[in-house]
Amino acid sequence: MSEATKGDRLEGAHVLEQARLHGPSVPSLASHERPRSLWSDAWRQFRRHRLALAGLFTLASIVLAVIAGPELIPYDPERIDFRAKSSPPTLAHPMGTDELGRDQLVRVLDGGRVSLAVGLAVVLVAMSVGVAIGAIAGYAGGWVDNALMRVVDVFYSMPGLFVIILLVTLLGPNFWTIVISLGLLRWMTTARLVRASFLSLKEQEFVEAARAIGASNVRIVLRHILPNALSPIIVAATLGIAGAILAESALSFLGLGFQPPQATWGRMLEEAQKMVIHEGHWWRGFFPGLMIFLTIISINFVGDGLRDALDPRRLERS
């Protein structure tokens, strides 16, 4: 039994159950309610997912701190102050300082701007490529679909981190080469998802109706099919940000991503490595890593919540 029919059957059972419980009052109850859009419906659903809400709150706090923090803190992320070097966390430096006396809090926040920006930009690149390729493959079908899916197979069979390292090494590490290298290795899942949605959606009556009134292919794809295929794309994009941040951090941690003096979370961990292991300056590694961890886990919770909220087959729609 396919997923879709399983869902239908359960949904049907649910309606029957309702009818049994409430008798004829069910239809009139529904007519009293204001019609709800997909988005407000999804939000109502999302709000019930407590961990997702907590994730959203944490994520919002991190974004806010990263944007406003460096402006409010009286230190410069690159200012060297040897009088305060290698200080453990104190009131003046809540995350301590490094061996050059640079304030770690302001560096973590400043680095966070880069890490988060990379995450967003990578997902933008990956989603553009993935949606475009998936849409073309699914809508066109035939040999176009076949050829594009073989390209997806090739990209899927490449060991991601190795290729990313090679690309960044070849192109030289800067913001855009890192973003494009990461993006080029992260679009395949989206392409497959979008293709699958398009394959089933393009056979539906509403697409046929649009075609019958003379809508162009571009219009059908952009106005009729894509909006209906949006839910899995949104979930994939959300989780993709976490993956991209993690990949950038790994790259910078290996010393192959962003170069000094620019701080990113991964870069700070790389700089911290020797000091943590040999000098025991735990704060150097703890805080940048904690930021990565909190960001990733928040995004994962939000992604989980979105998946439930946007799933049209879910049972509770109240």
Partner: protein, 324 residues
């Protein structure tokens, strides 16, 4: 069945060819061509003009792109992966020295993953919503979100700097010449942290899959039938539910191995383990392109091989799958 396997193997060939084309195109993107680093005036002391000329002739850099690609691909097929810019040694030889170490680390991690993920996942599913289930699902969620390099760094702080229990790098103590059991113990002490870090992430994700698969299997009619027959709970879970639930898991397991392999890049780097991943990162720092290409080809081959294995195993284990 045989024809299915043969067909799947044949399908892997164009895949590998596609990857090699992509990698070759990448190589051509090197600023100034593949010999840029050798031509770099900074390295003039190491590479003489004569050597440079020899390299140019050897790679036939003035031929058209497709000729160069075909020659390169033919060399690959003969097992000639070129020579390292850095050491001047054959790439395949360098990889050959490093790959057993990577296999050791990933193999052990895989074993640990199996030994942890199956019991935890099964108990979690059998006692759904119990304290154990909540605990293990929470830990699994933390495990998939934690950056492995951060975990490694914090373990190093606790177990090497603070407690002094475990060595921080390498595979053996270079100052000692241990033999027999002592050497084995020394090796084990060096491997504890790298294997723990590498295994944790895959254990976390695998536990989630096993729990889901077992929950699905436990809810099926055949499990109810087995219970109704009066079989003991142990037999019901292990013989009936697990055997059926494990089919999709086998696929995930086969795909987990290349992931471990790729993840070992980070672990080998932080713990200074002389494996293939570390060789890759070192070569990236040195811009040693022949080595990078060689490792990339080998790693791609492994990914394809395990994908193939996953598909074939799935077909073998699930009689409902027809091999068209």
């Amino acid at each position: 069945m045989t024809s299915y396997v043969v067909r799947r193997v044949l399908q892997a060939v164009p895949l590998l060819a596609g990857i090699s084309v992509l990698i070759y195109v990448l190589l051509q993107m090197t600023p100034g061509g593949p010999l840029a680093i050798a031509e770099n005036p900074g390295s003039a002391g190491r590479v003489t003009a004569e050597q440079l000329e020899r390299l140019r002739n050897r790679y036939g850099l003035d031929d058209p792109l497709y000729v160069r690609y075909l020659r390169w691909a033919a060399d690959l097929l003969r097992g000639d992966f070129g020579t390292s810019f850095n050491t001047g040694r054959p790439v395949l030889e360098m990889i050959g020295e490093r790959i057993p170490v990577t296999f050791l680390v990933t193999g052990l991690s895989f074993l640990v993953t199996l030994l942890l993920a199956f019991p935890i996942g099964i108990v979690s599913a059998v006692r759904q919503y119990s304290v154990f289930d909540y605990l293990s699902t929470s830990v699994a969620f933390l495990g998939v979100s934690i950056p492995s390099f951060w975990l490694a760094l914090m373990l190093l702080y606790v177990f090497t700097f603070t407690l002094g229990w475990l060595p921080s790098f390498g595979l053996e103590d270079p100052r000692q010449d241990y033999e027999g059991l002592v050497a084995l113990w020394d090796r084990a002490r060096h491997l504890v942290m790298p294997v723990t870090v590498l295994a944790l992430v895959s254990t976390a994700s695998l536990t989630r899959y096993i729990r889901a698969a077992m929950l699905d299997a436990i809810g099926q009619d055949y499990t109810r039938t087995a219970r109704a027959k009066g079989l003991s709970e142990r037999v019901v879970i292990l013989r009936h539910a697990l055997k059926n639930g494990a089919i999709p898991i086998v696929t995930i397991l086969a795909l987990e191995i290349p992931d471990l392999f790729i993840g070992s890049v980070i672990v080998e780097s932080i713990f200074a383990i002389p494996g293939m991943g570390r060789l890759f990162v070192e070569s990236a720092h040195l811009r040693d392109y022949p080595v990078l290409m060689g490792i990339l080809m080998i790693a791609s081959l492994l990914v394809i091989l395990f994908n193939l294995l996953a598909d074939v195993l799935y077909a073998v284990l699930d009689p409902r799958i027809r091999y068209r």
